[in-house]
């Protein structure tokens, strides 16, 4: 058993047409013993950036707070909002600081980044997702990022179901089906799921009813 499999859990992010979705299961366990069906792994960073943190639960909580500190300091110091690409690099450098005694988390970042041609009157956004390994190697994907104990299953279902330019409602269906069916095949993930769909105007959060086993 590896330390990454102690608590269990999986996260997936997908790109759609002018939207992104990020979803995770809600299980927290101690190896085979399930403890909670309500364990949050996806956290808002700004209005338009969400980060998913699958892996060791203790490091999930610690990193959530370390990122909150760094993001708040950035926002106050620079008097501007973080963009997803910048936050991704911040995640990478935070993890690499602990290269030789790492955080056992493999974060997934999903967000909408402002285009250079965007103006306050007509803001324009581009969907952005990326994942990193536990020491901060960035992976900028154009379709989907998967992570956690069910990652291999998630890869398989996502490859099958994903297609480019899905509208927010279709993206929600696709990511939900991908997550639910993949975690059903993994003993350490499941016990409920939550999906966030980010569009330029709003974020829609839905909790899914899955197999509670």
């Amino acid at each position: 058993m590896s330390i990454m499999e102690l608590n269990g859990g999986s996260v997936i992010a997908m790109v759609g047409k002018d939207c992104v979705a990020i979803a995770s299961d809600l299980r927290l366990g101690n190896q085979a013993l399930s403890i909670s069906s309500n364990f949050q792994k996806i956290f808002p960073v700004t209005d338009r950036i969400y980060i998913g943190l699958p892996g060791l639960a203790s490091d999930v909580a610690t990193l959530r707070e370390r990122f909150r500190l760094r993001v708040n300091m950035y926002t106050i110091k620079e008097e501007r909002e973080l963009e997803p690409e910048t936050f991704a690099h911040l995640v990478s450098s935070t993890l690499y600081e602990k290269r030789f005694s790492p955080y056992f988390v493999e974060p997934v970042v999903a967000g909408l980044s402002k285009l250079p041609t965007s103006t306050p009157e007509s803001p324009k956004f581009k969907p952005f997702i990326c994942g990193t390994d536990l020491i901060g190697c960035l992976n900028f994907a154009k379709d989907f990022i998967v992570c956690g104990t069910a990652s291999e299953k998630l890869f398989g279902v996502a490859e099958g179901l994903w297609e480019p330019d899905l509208e927010p409602e279709d993206l929600f269906e696709t990511i939900s089906q991908t997550l639910l069916n993949a975690v059903d095949r993994d003993a350490f993930s499941g016990w409920g799921a939550v999906v966030h769909v980010l569009t330029p105007d709003k974020v829609i959060t839905r909790t899914l009813r899955g197999r509670m086993d």
């Binding site: 620079e78 690409e85 910048t86 690099h89 250079p116 041609t117």
Partner: protein, 254 residues
């Protein structure tokens, strides 16, 4: 100038009764003896310029760097002590790279200016050091605020200018700039105005060899898109550059 502060003028960490840190006053005097530099912010860029005054004809002034690039989007020029400037440039460049290492992009002008100003302030509140004998003009472009021009003084205070001059001829130069500056000035006009302002107080011949000019330009949306693609490997489009001798000669000929 007022009395030199007496016993309070030697230790930097001691205030004089009138509330001054006399060492900083002396540092400003060192700056006022330096060659004139100026900066002008236009709607589509910034120009910073300085005299390259050499004390002897035998000096190879083409090897002298008075306008320095800190990172692709920020450049600085100074008035005062050259060696102090060199040290600050090295620290500023390192600070910009440290920022890159964390965020994958170069710092906005205000953030870098604040870092430099902090370094200069630390030299006014530490034991056994003296203040930096330079004033800096920091010019840069960033996506949030566009082109911005800051002045940093030996005390570590900094503030933004639309147009400013520092050094020997600063009073006359600033008066000249006040008359000629307007908020809609374009970069080309700003360069022209900068040259005229420098000429006002210039001792000796003003040629492409005796002045140095740095320019901040605004990238087009197309250039910005290109540098954003593949954020991991996208190279930032340089927005600050030092004009070559040929370019300066062309501007002088106008």
């Amino acid at each position: 100038m007022a009395s030199d502060g007496g016993a309070y003028s030697y230790s930097l960490t001691v205030f004089s009764p009138s509330g001054k840190l006399v060492q900083i006053e002396h540092a400003l005097a060192a700056v006022a003896q330096g060659t004139t530099s100026l900066g002008i912010k236009a709607t589509n860029g910034i120009v910073i310029a300085t005299e390259k005054k050499s004390s002897s004809l035998l000096i190879d002034s083409s090897m002298l760097d008075k306008v320095a690039v800190i990172c692709p989007n920020i450049g600085i020029v100074y008035s005062g002590m050259g060696p102090d400037f060199r040290v600050l440039v090295a620290k500023a460049r390192k600070s910009a790279q440290a920022y890159w290492k964390i965020y994958g992009e170069y710092p906005p002008t205000k953030v870098l200016t604040r870092e430099i100003a902090t370094v200069m302030q630390e030299a006014t509140q530490s034991g056994g050091v003296r203040p930096f004998g330079v004033s800096l003009l920091v010019a840069g472009w960033d996506i949030t605020r566009g082109p911005t021009l800051y002045q940093v003084d030996p005390s570590g205070s900094f503030w933004a200018w639309k147009a400013s001059a520092i050094g020997k001829n600063m009073v006359n130069a600033k008066t000249f700039l006040e008359k000629r500056y307007n908020d809609d000035i374009s970069l080309e006009d700003a360069i022209h105005t900068a040259l005229l302002t420098l000429k006002e107080g210039f001792e000796g011949q003003m040629t492409e060899k005796t002045i140095e000019i740095g320019v901040v330009t605004v990238p087009t949306p197309a250039e910005l898109e290109a540098s954003q693609v593949g954020a991991a490997t996208g190279r930032p489009t340089p927005t600050f550059r030092i004009l070559s001798e040929e370019e300066v000669r062309d501007y002088l000929a106008l």
